[in-house]
């Protein structure tokens, strides 16, 4: 039996933030933003939107674009740092809103940039132990809700998106999810984190009052030390890729396509150069969406399939890195 990715869809909010918009707000030139990030446009959700409704938007697209019996779905993995309630899990809310069976397994995964690969790992585990055979993975991200409007660096990079992946356990398909490699270094937590979002710095009324003109920023505020994140990535990702290749007993040349977490095109290019991956095998999709956190890999994968860069039977190395610090990778076969 293999775990086959049967469908990927994604939904982007209608509101956008372009480089022209940013250059009108901040003293910065459009071309410099593009040079620094490789991004021209990000999508931004209305702050009043309920998180599960945003996830449903992507599910509706999946059901339109692919034909399958949704009664077969027996697991929902909801990966996001946003949620409807602290509890219950948003995956539970989605079971009801999508009118799915009550026999279903539900779990929320709270990871950032590495969330998609973590979700694939959970999905594979469920399938390999006969706990589920038809899994939906939501990667629904709203980073803009925790970005201060005055923070140009973060506004240049992040965009909101909800992606959904449908996986099946099949024995008549090339589809497979290979071996995983994971890494964690919690000492990096202070270099990328959401301030005022939990028990370390508690949300207080003076913070809400101070940010009242931006809706109070009740979910906290993202802070990033970009130089440290950059050096962490340059340090860990080459080793990660080497370990993923080794664990999957495959050579660099046998990989048809590399899809990394779409953090920032400048950083991705540096990594590609360091790893000596030919440009033709290194897929980047960030210009029109920005860094969409855990939704970035499924969005890139969908676009690569649409463009014909990723085909049935292809071996694709996925690698993700970021907030935590957390990093992980695997090789999937379409």
């Amino acid at each position: 039996m293999g775990q086959s990715i049967e469908g990927i869809s994604y939904y982007l909010p209608q509101n956008t933030l372009t480089n022209t918009d940013l250059s009108n707000i901040f003293a910065v030139q459009e071309k410099d933003i593009f040079k620094k990030t490789g991004i021209k446009k990000r999508h931004v959700i209305d702050l009043e939107t309920v998180v599960s409704d945003f996830a449903i938007n992507s599910a509706e697209k999946l059901f339109q674009e692919y034909s399958f019996n949704k009664d077969n779905i027996d697991a929902i993995i909801f990966c996001s740092s946003a949620y409807d309630y602290k509890v219950p899990a948003t995956a539970c809310v989605l079971q009801n809103k999508l009118n799915l069976g009550k026999h279903i397994y539900t779990i929320d995964i709270r990871h950032g940039c590495t969330g998609y690969i973590y979700s694939l790992s959970v999905a594979k585990g469920l399938m390999n132990t006969s706990q589920a055979n038809h899994v939906l993975i939501f990667t629904t991200e709203i980073p803009t809700s925790v970005i201060h409007p005055g923070d140009l660096e973060l506004r240049m990079i992040f965009g909101d998106a909800s992606a959904i992946t449908y996986l099946c356990n099949k024995n008549n398909s090339t589809g497979n999810i290979g071996e995983f490699v994971f890494g964690t270094d919690g000492s990096g937590a202070g270099n990328l984190f959401v301030k005022y979002s939990g028990s370390v710095q508690r949300l207080k009324s003076d913070w809400l009052l101070k940010t009242e003109s931006h809706g109070g920023m009740p979910y906290g505020m993202l802070e990033m030390n970009s130089v440290e994140i950059f050096t962490f990535t340059l340090r860990e990702v080459p080793t990660l890729v080497a370990e993923v290749l080794k664990k999957n007993r495959i050579s660099m040349d046998e990989i048809d396509l590399f899809i990394f977490h779409q953090a920032n095109a400048f950083l991705l290019n540096m990594l590609r150069r360091k790893l000596k991956i030919p440009e033709s095998k290194f897929y980047v999709y960030i210009e029109q969406v920005g860094n969409t956190v855990s939704a970035s890999i499924p969005i890139a994968l969908k676009e690569a399939i649409k463009e014909g860069k990723a085909k049935k039977g292809d071996k694709i190395l996925l690698a993700a890195f970021g907030i935590g610090y957390s990093w992980c990778g695997t090789v999937i076969t379409l």
Binding site: D32, K35, V227, T231, L234, F266, M270
Partner: protein, 77 residues
């Protein structure tokens, strides 16, 4: 590697620093064209050219091109 070669490497890779911009006692942060992105480019350039990783903190401590050169040299040996 001499400091001249080090400077030539940086000036050939970073278009905002054309040849002649940098001297051993230049503080790159004081250059008009300096932006936070150049810190990232320098780190990446040193990483890919010399296989030496320098952290953000180490870079901040380098006040001149010469300091940076000495840091890279110390990590090479």
């Amino acid at each position: 590697m001499t400091i001249e070669e080090f400077i030539n490497k940086i000036e050939s890779e970073i278009e905002e620093f054309p040849p002649g911009t940098l001297k051993p006692d230049t503080n790159p942060r004081e250059l008009e064209q300096w932006s936070s992105m150049h810190a990232l480019i320098l780190i990446a350039l040193i990483d890919s050219e010399y296989n030496v990783t320098i952290s953000g903190e180490e870079l901040i401590k380098c006040l001149t091109v010469n300091d940076l050169y000495n840091l890279v040299q110390s990590k090479l040996s």
